[in-house]
Every structure is written in structure tokens, then in C-alpha cells.
Symmetry: C2
Amino acid sequence: MIEDKNSQRTSLSELGEFGLIEHLTKGFVSKNSSTLKAIGDDAAVLDFSGKQVVVSTDMLIEGIHFDLSYVPLKHLGYKAVMVNLSDIYAMNAKATQITVSVAVSNRFPLEALEELYEGIALASRLYDVDLIGGDTTSSKLGMIISITVIGEATKEELVYRNGAKTNDLLVVSGDLGGAYMGLQILEREKEVFKVNPNNQPDLDPYTYLIERQLKPEARRDIYQLLKDLGVKPSAMIDISDGLSSEVLHLCKQSGVGCRLYEDKIPLDPQVISSCEEFSIDSTMVALSGGEDYELLFTVAQEDYSKIKANPNLTVIGHIVPKSEGVHLVTRGETFIPITAQGWNAMK
Amino acid sequence: MIEDKNSQRTSLSELGEFGLIEHLTKGFVSKNSSTLKAIGDDAAVLDFSGKQVVVSTDMLIEGIHFDLSYVPLKHLGYKAVMVNLSDIYAMNAKATQITVSVAVSNRFPLEALEELYEGIALASRLYDVDLIGGDTTSSKLGMIISITVIGEATKEELVYRNGAKTNDLLVVSGDLGGAYMGLQILEREKEVFKVNPNNQPDLDPYTYLIERQLKPEARRDIYQLLKDLGVKPSAMIDISDGLSSEVLHLCKQSGVGCRLYEDKIPLDPQVISSCEEFSIDSTMVALSGGEDYELLFTVAQEDYSKIKANPNLTVIGHIVPKSEGVHLVTRGETFIPITAQGWNAMK
């Protein structure tokens, strides 16, 4: 469907690999003092002058991670960056550089890649990260995007997954389940479109959900917010695969258990109403939906007064000794063990 | 063809994503003091204590960069690392960490991924780089490998592409064209195999060529060699796309021209004999063949005595002012302009 959107089409082979990289990256300006040399040599050169360096990488594949029949390429570029930045913010670090490798088949014209890079450029500009390298290659296999992100922090700032202690509070930023319900809406509209391409969908009631799916924002603000509040998390992880999976990672690596309260899980009203419409349990969606890119972290009990009134943060549970296990406490006060397949456990 | 090699087959879905990463990376041990935390958190943590950091990334795609009908997966893993290390050595830096993302379709059993990671592990061990992160994901699209490599150097050690000066000598490590001729041999044997699967090819006369194609070695030794010889290159680049392309990059970025002497280009006897067999001009192969992963660099005239006797290094030309252009000087003393498509220019 992508091809039809562009009235102008420039074949990728007209440019060649070097022309293509130069063309796509010419608008990018480096802003971080740690970026000494970005694109243009065998490797980029960085200088973190004493700070520690954090590195994370993620790959997005057409047909697995995204469906170009309803994801605009500019949004895809933006989201691909967010997915990666989120991992750096989950270390309580500042994201500073990215490399972007893209493989595309010939069915994409240059204009499609330009759209993708517009999204990457917008994300880079808004989040102050420098594009320092990458690779553009042809593919027989559709579109593949691989991003590596680099960040910096002092040793004291960094927060790992393994520092949660008994009695710490379990806190989540924002709300959960929106991205998953956005995907359900888009999948439904795709089916409707197949049957009747002239049907104009009314997506107004789902604006927030669709935005959560198509244009998520990584929680860069939490790093500053916690600093301002004078709170340093004892452990932190980003929520990319659903709350249950991340809670398990955090507890496993910290060697602790936890209690997560169903009635505390923050849900947007659109999540609740669309869950009713689709007859899905909203708790399941929050536990297993994924792609929310919120942060999950633990803080000491004594920090409660500092965070309790903040609209960005919700206390959803607390840490217990490992022997007590990892449980969801339902509205009916039932203890349900959380497993890697949180969804299945709830059935 | 891969599937048939393994008597044992474990489906990837049996493990799940986290089980898979843990399984594939459990044998990796970090050796560099700059690696504080490798796999297991949202991001790896590194500390380069004052050194500058170099970063490069490359993506390899089935059907474009490799053909699994004749590339063993262990070799592919090894080569994928080499391709990336080569970029770091071309900065005159030490490679220290890699991230590896792999996407595979379900036609690959776990044992195939294990073979791939065996090659990655071997390369990491022999070249002292730490695996610090990555992503393993499913694909409908065959196999895709994306690697980011990180290295370190002092500011004084780093060599860029843009430092070549008039009268500098143009030097190349090793010999050229072997990887390309190895590919020709393998492609020919694949065709023979299609016609007669019982035919046992005699590959003895081509051992070196096939090794150059299937198991290239990045020139880590040149960094140390130059240090021992007391020579610092004025500019350097690795030869991944063929000599002509790299010479052009180096000259363009340094704002100079050069003369490259056809009779000085180092060729292995197997390259010469196989070129005769295939009726290809060996100079064309060296200029445009690619995948040799040798280093091309410039040194000051006064360093000539330090490098002239070294069997690893060959002076193949010298730098001239930009106005004099970039030329190949043939055996017949003809000046031929080198263009981005060196191959075509020679026709």
C-alpha cells in the first residue's frame, strides 16, 4: 500500500549505497558534546569524558513488529527510535547517540525511505540524540530496521534491574494497555477496509490508543522528574513486553518477590471502554499487552511522600521476600501467581 | 540445505525469546576492563575512563550478503564479526565490545543458531571483544544479522580518512581479490552441484581463495605492527568494497588525488591463476572485488624505510594534489581515471 501514497517515485538503485546514506542523513545535526564525529568515516568517534556509557540495541522487522498497511513510515521511524531510547531511560541514563541500519526491498522508492528518516530525524531532534552511523542495504525480504542506542550517566546515577529490596514500593509511570488496544483497533479497521475500502472509520473515540500504538513517547521525563523529587529508584526496567513479564525480570534479578494490586494498575478511560467493547479483561491487557514503553521501578518506602501526589507516577505494589513469590492481588483479594505468560495465567 | 545437516532439531518456539538469548550467550565471558555489565539489563554498561570511543555498525542479509547453500553458519557468524571489527581497526583503534541482533525464520532450528553463535563466540574470543547485547527475533524473511561494534583509542592514536597529504605513500596490507575469486569458485561449485549432486569438487587449488571468502580475518595485527614500527598513518580506511571505491573515499575526504600503480597491487598466486581460469583481469578483481577486509592507508614519505621490508605491507602508489586526479597507472604506463565503478571504467 505504501507505493500508492507517493506520486513521485525515485528508484533506490538510481542513488547507489553511498549516495543514499548521504542523502538520507544530510539534515542531521549533532548536538551532544560527546559526539566528536558522526557519519562519514569507518566509525563514529565519541568522548564521554569520565562518564559511564550505556548501550542497547533492537531490531524491528516488517510482518513481525510492524504492518505497513496501517503504520505510516514516518511514525515507524519515530517509534523505532523510541523503542531504543526507552532502554536507556530505564538505566536512569541520558540517551546521546543512535546508529540506524535499514534494509529495504526495491518495492520501496526513495520517497518511502525519506519518510522513514523524517520520523527518525524528528525523534532525534525532540530527544536530543545524534545519529552517528548506520547502514542502508537492499533486501529481498521487506523492511528491517536495526537501531543501537548509546547513552551516558555517572556511576552514581545508573539504576540496574537488580537493586529492589523487600518493602520497596513498586511504581509505574503513565498508564498501561493503551498501545495494545490501539493495535486491536487498527487490526479491526484493516479487516473492515479489506471488505469495504470506501468505509471511513470513526477513530475519534480511540485517538489516545492509536497514538500510543503508532507514536509512543519514551519516558525521558522520568529521569529529570525523579532527580527533581530527590528520589533514586533501587531498580528499574522499561515496559516493552507487558507488566507481568517486566515484574518477573525485575524480581528475578533482584532476588525478591512482590505483590502487585490489580486495582492500582493505572488505565486510561479509553483502555477501559475499548476493553469492554472487545470483551477483553483490562487487567490482562495491562499485564500482557506490551509496547507501552513506560518505566517500572522500585523506591524505598520512605520516598512515598515524595512521589504519592505526582500524576505521572502510580504505586502499584510492593516488594516482598523471594519466598513469598510474585503475585497479583485481585480486586477480590485473591492471590494469583504471575508467570511469564501472564495472559495465560489469568484464563 | 541447512536443515538437513542437523540430525537433532529443536524448534525455536520451544525456548521463547528470553530463553533463547540466555541459551545462546551463556558461554560468553567479558575480558575487557571497559565492560562493566554485558547482557542482562536494559542496556550494557561500559567505562572507557578517558579514552575516546569508536562505534560502527553493519547489517548482513540472507540472499544479499550471504548464501546459506555454501556458507556454513559458524563461518557466517565469524565473518559477520570480522566485517565489523575491520571498521574499528581502520580507525587505528582497539575493538572491545559487540552487540549482535539476529532475526531468523522458523525454518532454522535452535541448532542452526547455536552454530552461528559458535562462530560469533570464536571470533570474540580470538579478537578479545565482549558480547554486550543484542536481540533475537523471529522473521518471515530468512536470516538477518545486525552487529554494532565499539572500540577505544586515545585521541592521539585515532586515524581518520581525511588526513592524507600530497607525497604521502599509499599502502595496503595483505593481498587483494582473494575473497572475490573465492566467491566465484563457490558460485561455480553451486551450479555444478545443482546439475550433479554426487560430484565431489576438487577445491584444493583454491583453498586460500575460499578461506578469504568464508573465513576472512580483520587486520587487528596492523594496529600493533604500525605501533612497533613507529609509524602512524595519516589516513586509513578498510577495504570492504574493493580498492577503487576505498581509494576514492580516502582521496575525496582528504581533498587529494593519487596515483595507484597496477604492477604494485599485491595478488596471491591463487588469485592470478584463478583469474586466468575464469578469464577475468586480476587488476579489475583487486579494484572492484570487495570483501578483502585489508587496510588501506597513507604514510609520510620519510616512513618508507620503516615499512618497505615488511611482508604484510605493500606500497601501491602515492598521493598527488587534488587537481591531478585519481588514476591507475597501468603496466603500459597509461593513466586511467579511477571511478566509483572501477570495474566499468576498465572495460
